[in-house]
């Protein structure tokens, strides 16, 4: 029999005002007959979640809608901060919040300046896509990660691109059935120089993504790019990797939802150039 237990503290702040506060805790025992779950409290986990929430609250930025989630479980303690403007959001942590909020300010300013109108789907534009800021990790999340969870074969990657996506059984809450999920997506490159194409779409933030195992297609809603917001909906086979440069960059925030269970998936990738074929 296996046991999972956790405690979660969550707060929602709107421009410096606390508007929602939640505590959740419980444990689940699993054996060959299934899972029995109750909201039993583990005092040590509840105290650890409270301490983690204090840590998140101490670095919380003002002027935004901010969700703080502190979880302490039998698998460790995590803290995430989701920062949202009217149209953009990202997920960060105390170590990176300053640089990530700067990025959000820059992206929001460029959108409100209006010089990047929303464009048509990228598939109608034979223009290379330059994935900045670690955003290529979200592409790889949908292109490789979810198919891996479904036991699908990965498309052949160029020899200069290495992608590490370990899977493990994970669950969002004690009420959930554990599923085979990504732990993280870490892409690295070795010697893949490319000439920067004059015409290109530069992608900085992704709103959401999806993989459809039935049709083997991916969908990505790009939230911030050099042409504004747009959607990519393509068969997996149509993505071609042209080149990459630099060290992996941490992408600020992938909250992955599957079967209604939202989990944070740490993600990083170098700057990547792709084409849709």
């Amino acid at each position: 029999m296996t046991r999972f237990a956790h405690a979660v503290r969550e707060e929602l702040w709107s421009r410096g005002r606390l508007i929602e506060s939640r505590l959740s805790h419980g444990e689940a025992f699993e054996d060959e007959h299934g899972i029995v779950a109750t909201d039993t409290r583990d005092d040590a986990l509840a105290a650890a979640a409270e301490r983690e929430l204090d840590r998140l609250r101490a670095v919380m930025p003002g002027g935004f809608t901010v969700r703080l989630v502190a979880e302490s479980s039998t698998e460790g303690t995590t803290g995430t901060i989701t920062v949202r403007t009217d149209t953009l959001s990202l997920v960060t942590d105390p170590a990176h919040i300053r640089e990530d909020v700067d990025l959000l300010h820059r992206s929001a300013a460029s959108r409100s300046a209006g010089f990047q109108p929303a464009g048509p789907p990228a598939s109608s534009r034979p223009v290379p896509l330059l994935w900045l800021n670690g955003s290529a990790s979200v592409l790889l999340h949908e292109l490789l990660g979810h198919p891996l969870e479904h036991g699908r074969e990965s498309p052949r990657l160029p020899p200069w691109l290495h992608v590490d996506i370990p899977l493990s059984m994970r669950r969002a809450t004690f009420r959930d059935v554990p599923l085979l999920r990504m732990q993280h997506v870490r892409a690295t490159q070795t010697s893949a120089p490319f000439e920067l194409p004059e015409e290109r779409i530069e992608i900085t933030l992704i709103d959401s993504g999806m993989y459809d195992p039935l049709n083997d297609t991916i969908m990505l809603r790009v939230a911030a790019s050099s042409i504004g917001a747009f959607t990519i909906q393509e068969p997996r086979t149509s993505v071609a990797f042209i080149g990459a440069h630099g060290d992996p960059l941490r992408y600020p925030g992938v909250i992955c939802s599957r079967e209604g269970q939202e989990l944070v998936v740490g993600s990083s990738a170098p700057v990547l150039l792709t084409e849709l074929r």
Binding site: E20, S24, I35, A37, V177, L214
Partner: protein, 267 residues
């Protein structure tokens, strides 16, 4: 405003049985919302109903099968009530077609009809027939999207009966939805129509028309991708719901949003 809930739920989720016992309290004060668990003891969770449904559906080509049965006791400002949830969420597949179904244990006949049609379906999309019927389960999924934008000859209304998330009576209403939906003590109640139904003066349905028996994709605006039985033929098609010519009198309840009464419709 203080609300308390104690509940048990049994869920069959893609081959795993999970039984959950929990209780909690939620407080609202102006714009502030707070919730936390309250001491709950382990209680017996009856799972025979979900196992029975899972067994009945086990031979279908399911990509996803979630069967839920729960019982909950509620208390809010001195009002107490009890309710049961009975829900089936599944997707059936054939080739590149996926039928999406939300139903109840009392409507397994819908599911077998859809499964049979899907097994016979052509993979290639065809043009929609000029006069199409929507089965009650398809209309049920469409109804929440029709609220506030239905064609002028039909009315989307809330049906009185039961209580809402504050324990207030659900009343007849046609707009400014007066009741609040609270699917869990952990979420702030939201104003939402309950038990929606569609009304139309014309109730005669031509049963010889082709019928859309299942959704093949989530509804986008008022655009549907559906599976149509057209005589001996079964095929996928797309249709925009811009006009409704008749709504049958017979209605069945389905678990979309805060509940809807689906009825057969003729476009």
């Amino acid at each position: 405003m203080i609300y308390r809930k104690r509940g048990v739920v049994a869920r069959w989720e893609n081959g795993t049985l999970i039984r959950v016992t929990e209780s909690g309290v939620a407080m609202e004060e102006g714009e502030y919302f707070e919730c936390r668990p309250e001491s709950s003891s382990r209680r017996v969770v009856e799972s025979s109903r979900v196992l029975e449904v899972a067994r009945a559906l086990r031979d279908l080509p399911t990509e996803r099968l979630i069967v839920t049965h729960g019982v909950a006791e509620h208390e809010c400002e001195g009002r107490t009530w009890r309710d049961e949830t009975d829900r089936i969420h599944l997707s059936l597949v054939n080739g590149r077609l996926r039928a999406l179904v939300d139903s109840t244990a009392g409507r397994l006949d819908d599911i077998f009809t859809i499964a049979d049609a899907l097994a016979r379906a052509e993979q290639t999309e065809r043009d929609a027939p000029t006069r199409l019927r929507l089965a009650a389960n398809v209309t049920a999924a469409l109804l929440p999207h029709l609220a506030g934008r239905a064609p002028s000859n039909v009315r989307v209304v809330q049906t009185a009966g039961g209580v809402d998330g504050y324990g207030h009576d659900i009343v007849n209403a046609a707009d400014h939805w007066p009741n609040f939906y609270r699917p869990s003590y952990r979420v702030r109640p939201v104003r939402m129509p309950f038990n929606l139904r569609l009304e139309c003066d014309q109730t005669e349905i031509d049963r010889d028309r082709p019928i859309a028996v299942a959704l093949l994709a989530a509804i986008d605006d008022l655009a549907l991708r559906v599976l149509v039985i057209d005589g001996a033929r079964v095929y996928p098609t797309r249709v925009n719901v811009t006009a409704i010519s008749a709504v049958a009198k017979e209605r069945e309840w389905y678990p979309y949003g805060a509940g809807v009464f689906g009825a057969e419709v003729m476009l």
